[in-house]
């Protein structure tokens, strides 16, 4: 297919359909309404089903029901709605069902605002719902990458029998960019047979399907927890994705940013390069599993690290864990739907470098005074 100008939300919907998704359950919330609207129009064309749920709570439980039959299913929402879906998500993860959930993040907390934000990083990567579970979390930085990652998300969800979150900020959902859907796209993971576990009516040819997360025997539940943990460990081992720009050589400052913020930082990196400041940029694409090792290695080649987020600082905690105190980690964040500009990011980099320079000269002066 030729490149086509598409809004992010619509590209996400089209990507899901091309990945074989035939069921969508959702509830309206800005700024992602174009996803359910697109699916309500497009799914009937491919023999699929769209249901407008009465709430996000219901939508996530419809997802649970449909995912248990082994079909490829999608829902989408934005931050406050995602909070309501956390009940269903915890059950889906516990019951080991594959599904894809798109969160086009808006500013919070509470009802917040409708403009872009990255305030749901903790919710997405550190659990969100109750209990001990993880979701694979993919964070696109362009409309094209959103379309690609949504298709991968279905393959990964099936492969791990686990929910996959696609975490985009409001910009990803609302901006228009050229997108290309490759007709010859191959699944990013092998397709497994679902007939062994899917609830499609029991005819005696397999054990009865019991889609459940109830384990009243503590020993059995602990074994189930450890089974889930082994799956999350496999994701950590095999599924880390990131993009690195200029981190393969020594640089003054390493910037770590994800989503559209990373594009702002990329511009700042290029602007600073013209002024002779060497900036490395590392962009996590999977937020769980987080690219700890890649961040550590890139930080080792920098004098300092700067994390830029549209929040008061969430991913920065993972960056600090990766760097483990070997370099100073600075943070620059905007909130409330305000964006970081390339100029502001460049100013942060210059401030870090000048502070480092003056600290160096202070140390030199102290050494000089003592001799």
């Amino acid at each position: 297919m030729a490149r086509k100008l598409m809004k992010g939300c619509e590209a996400i919907g089209e990507a899901a359909i091309r990945a074989g998704c035939r069921l969508f359950f959702g509830y309206p919330i800005t700024p992602q309404n174009e996803i359910p609207e697109y699916m309500s129009r497009r799914l009937p064309e491919v023999g699929g089903t769209f249901v407008q749920a009465e709430s996000e709570v219901a939508a996530s439980n419809m997802l649970y029901g449909a995912a248990g039959t082994g079909e490829r299913v999608l829902t989408s929402s934005s931050s406050p709605g995602i909070s309501l879906m956390m009940e269903g998500l915890s059950y889906i993860a516990a019951s080991e069902l594959p599904c894809v959930i798109v969160n086009i993040m808006r500013a919070g907390p509470g009802l917040g605002g409708i403009l872009p934000s990255q305030g749901d990083y903790f919710q997405a990567t550190k659990g969100g719902g109750h209990g001990d579970y993880r979701c694979l979390v993919l964070a696109p930085w362009s409309v094209q990458e959103a379309a690609d990652l949504v298709q991968d998300a279905f393959d990964l969800a099936d492969y791990y029998r686990n929910p996959v979150l696609v975490l985009g900020d409001g910009l990803i959902g609302q901006m228009m960019e050229p997108v290309e859907f490759r007709e010859d796209r191959a699944p990013c993971r092998p397709l497994l047979d679902k007939r062994e576990w899917a609830a499609r009516g029991w005819k005696g040819d397999r054990p009865r399907a019991i889609i459940s997360s109830l384990y009243l025997d503590p020993e059995v539940l602990e074994r189930h927890n450890q089974k889930l943990k082994a799956k999350y460990d496999a994701m950590v081992r095999d599924e880390v994705r990131f993009a690195a720009y200029g981190t393969d050589q020594d640089h003054d400052v390493l910037i770590v940013a994800y989503g559209t913020v990373a594009r702002v930082c990329k511009t700042a990196q290029e602007d600073l390069a013209e002024a002779g400041v060497r900036v490395g940029l590392l962009r996590p694409i999977t937020l769980f599993p987080f690219p700890y090792e890649a961040v550590r290695q890139a930080a080792d080649r920098a004098r300092a690290v700067l994390v830029v987020e549209l929040s008061t600082g969430q991913m920065v905690e993972d960056v600090k864990m990766a760097v483990m105190g070997r370099r100073p980690v600075h943070f620059y964040g905007r909130q409330g739907g305000m964006l970081a500009s390339p100029e502001a990011v460049a100013d942060q980099v210059r401030a870090i470098l000048s502070e480092a320079a003056s600290a160096t000269s202070r140390r030199a002066a102290r050494r000089g005074g003592a001799s």
Binding site: E87, A199, W202, G204, S212
Partner: protein, 283 residues
């Protein structure tokens, strides 16, 4: 040659249930399984268990099963049925699950006309959590969270779910039955069979409310509990079929119609005259 005249339905597993002595959950389970067997549905039935006393019902029904979160069984059933319309999907829910925390899900499932069958077990109390007040607890009935009896000034009146759902325009099969006597149980099975037949025909949403006993949390012997149900629940929760897909869309009209020219600024549309919506007086 011996003829088998009574046995365990194929749609029930051989697992002994955990229900208390005298509890009617076991009877309702059996009636469902008998109807599934009679209609030859075991191989394409999918059940959804609730949170409540029947939380492990998936161990008892010998069909593919789900365990839903509290109150969400109608949403889960919606997902299953929309994904595979050829499956026969039923939920099994208690009064706290369906009429309290799951009120939104059941109303919208019915209103969308999902082709699923809901088995609603109303024993007027929370059983699993130890006897708290339910949305269907009767006025004056004692429960652990209304130790002086349900006070309708503060807790409102018990919810009559079948009547409430009957107000919806979407065609449905809605009925209330009881299982406190063998005769009532036989009657209940016939009604339940009709509910499943509507789903098999792809006709409509169906819900059967089963009045049920909870001797443990009512603090009664099983025979006392059956008599209490008969004397107290049936007068408040009348038995019968309340709505059929062939029947009238809704109740015939307001009990107290508003007269024209009164003090009401925007007249209510009269029942049976949908064209008079949007505040038009029509004359």
């Amino acid at each position: 040659m011996m003829e088998l005249v009574f046995g365990r339905p194929r749609s029930l597993t051989r697992v002994p249930t955990h229900y208390c002595p005298g509890c009617t959950h076991g009877v309702v389970h059996r009636l469902i399984a008998e109807v599934l067997d009679e209609l030859g549905l075991q191989g394409r039935a999918v059940g959804v268990a609730p949170v409540g006393c029947a939380v492990v019902a998936y161990a008892y029904f010998n069909v593919d099963m789900y365990e839903a979160s509290h109150g969400r069984a109608p949403a889960v059933a919606t997902g299953v049925k929309r994904a595979h319309p050829e499956l026969i999907v039923f939920t099994y829910q208690g009064d706290g699950d369906l009429a309290s925390i799951g009120m939104g899900e059941i109303i919208h499932c019915a209103n969308r006309g999902e082709k699923v069958t809901v088995v609603f077990v109303n024993n007027a109390i929370y059983g699993m959590t130890g006897g708290q007040m339910a949305p269907t607890t009767l006025p004056g009935q004692v429960a652990t969270t209304c130790p002086f009896g349900r006070d309708v000034e503060h807790a409102g009146y018990p919810v009559r779910m079948v009547e409430l759902l009957s107000a919806l325009r979407t065609p449905a099969f809605l009925a209330r039955v009881s299982v406190h006597s063998p005769a009532r149980a036989i009657q209940a099975r016939a009604i339940l069979r009709r509910a499943f037949e509507h789903q098999v025909a792809g006709r409509c949403f169906s819900l059967v409310e089963f009045l049920s006993t909870c001797p443990t949390n009512w603090g009664q012997t099983p025979p006392e509990a059956c008599r209490w149900l008969e004397a107290n629940m049936i007068p408040y929760y009348p038995l019968g079929v309340f709505k059929t897909p062939e029947g009238p869309d809704r109740a015939p009209g307001p009990v107290e119609p508003l007269s024209r020219g009164g003090s009401v600024a925007s007249p209510m549309p009269t029942a049976g005259a949908p064209g008079r919506a949007n505040g038009e007086t029509g004359d």
